[in-house]
Amino acid sequence: MRSFLILLALGSLALMVACGGSGSSSNVTSTITSVTDSCSPSTITYGQTSQCSATVMGTGNFNSAVTWSVTCSTGSCGSISASGLYSAPSSGTVALQVTITATSVQNTTISGSTTVTVNPIQPLNNVAPIIVDSGPTGLNPPSVNVGFVTVKVCVPSTNTCQTIDHVSVDTGSSGLRIVSSVLTIPLPAEPDSSGNPLDECLVFLDGYVWGPVQTADIYVAGEKAAKVPVQVMIPSTSSPPVPSGCSSQSPPGGNGNEGGSVDAFGANALIGVGLFQQDCGPGCVSASPPYPVYYDCPASGCNPTNVTLAQQLANPVASFTTDNNGVLIQLPSVPDGGSLNPTGSLIFGIGTQSNNGLGSATVYPVPDTGNNAGDFTTTFNGTAYPASFIDSGSNGLFFLNMATTLIATCPGNNSGWYCPAMSPDNLTAVNQGTNGIPGPTTNFSIENADNLFNTNNTAFSTLGGPNPGAFDWGLSFFFGRNVFTAIENMSTPGGTGPYFAYNNP
């Protein structure tokens, strides 16, 4: 089109010369006859751009320059640069018809218009169904109060994939971990900086898991985390053997190596969707000597090693391209006595779609570092307990002990659960985050666990047990609430993570 315009201009000049005009250019009249414009592509989505160009026709030595403008019927129309690059608004929920107008600089009464259609970004399916059932087929003893989702893992950038059911949802950790006997596809190993296999020892509250770090594409609901480190958890009889520096951190009376089998783990895998972007974070990057979390494992044996943040197990949610600032867990109300196999939702993103807004939830910011990272303060009967937290991976509401609650533990060897004489025992507490603002009173009830277990139900809102000195608001607490977990350094409508947020029923 440019060459056409030049030819047109030359033609005018030739005509002028041929007519033997008096030669002064000031006497030559130039006119603009039309301006037309077009944009490519003409249909885009919010956040995208379209390049527009104008064709100016005229006579004489006319000025082909144009100015650009955008108009639309409502709201923000986006913007256009001097060179005609149109940028749609970053986000929106309704389709926009944007009129792009090019106006001749020489004659501002002459302009041309075209239309660009801006469509809403087709939202990804951000809902993974949760079921609170008895666990993987044949699990013995059956699971109670664990929420499971289904996750697909693939060899990165291939169609070699495996769908894994009964993946437990854990807001208390970060990263996907798969029991080795469950995994049937050959995920590639993630080597460490020495080119040796990289293994990990992660200590949970009640035991540890051990095994190699491998790389996978993770698909859950409509979301994808591409090429992220995951852990394959192996039994103690496998190679490499569990280093003594790993097992010796594990508390006595816990489960020891709990990732070695489905029965020991209580799930086929675990998806950690907690407050942090990585499972270990800056502490495992440059410690001297390295902490016994990640291990460099040449054939001669495993030794603790430092790793970059990118080499660490990643919170899959933070690795999504969208809906990546946290999660919302929605589980239905469960009556006293429990429910059998209730279903709910693990919803990705906070305030990113119409289904994950904070609504009436109260935000409880938590520290991202220090010895109370991820904790808030729970006040019960006038005493504050600053090492308290929310954790969907805990299968009860674990709090204080008989001396402070006056609730009896169950008799015999079931003393890890509460068996109140008066059941249900209705209680209240107040939670407070680092913003210093106490939230509204939280009501909860505890029932006799022995009686609950006799129902054969799989979900209990009133199942609790002792936890001297702190509150661990486990899955019992989630029923009937919207519980949000916002990831560190991620922006949300409730502020930057990390925080917990929930509403009271």
Partner: protein
């Protein structure tokens, strides 16, 4: 329970004097453990590459070791010189097998026996550790990135000390 006898060896009532007189001469090869003498606190400081702060509470002395990771271990020493309690908190757990000494195995065995007898009862998942026996009390709570634990020997807790202070 031999350890309990060992724990009584501190001849002096003033823990500070005891420590000052013994610390410099100790081999740096082993950890102080629960029930051991408080004299080996410096070993732990060395092993943890930590800084040591000691506070005299009159009825007991707390030696607080802070590792570069921020993990804190507190060792509670009686006037008789016995480590009657330990507490820990942080992202990275200390070596609990060394810190708890023979009590680690004792706690492990007690809990395993209980778990076997509990049989087909639903298992706890990501639950706190709560051990309350006449010889040992041990609690651990927390989650990945933040753990808090404490252990003490009820027989060795000096009179007038609230066990709730062992944290």
């Amino acid at each position: 329970m031999n350890i309990l006898k060992l724990a009584g060896i501190g001849p002096q009532n003033n823990a500070r004097i005891l420590l000052m007189s013994l610390l410099l001469a100790l081999p740096l090869s082993s950890w102080a453990v629960l029930g051991d003498t408080g004299a080996s606190v410096l070993n732990d400081q060395t092993l943890m590459k930590g800084t040591l702060r000691s506070v005299d509470h009159h009825t007991y002395v707390v030696h607080e070791i802070t590792a570069p990771s921020g993990t804190v271990v507190r060792e509670f020493v009686s006037p008789q010189g016995a480590v009657f309690g330990v507490a820990w908190e942080g992202q990275f757990l200390p070596d609990l097998q060394q810190l708890l000494g023979p009590y680690y195995q004792q706690a492990q065995q007690a809990e395993q026996a209980a778990a076997q007898q509990a049989g087909s009862q639903p298992r706890q998942r990501r639950a706190p550790i709560v051990i309350e026996t006449s010889g040992l009390v041990l609690y651990e709570t927390g989650h990945v990135r933040s753990f808090h634990g404490q252990a003490y020997l009820p027989q060795l807790v000096p009179q007038g000390v609230e066990t709730g202070d062992i944290h």
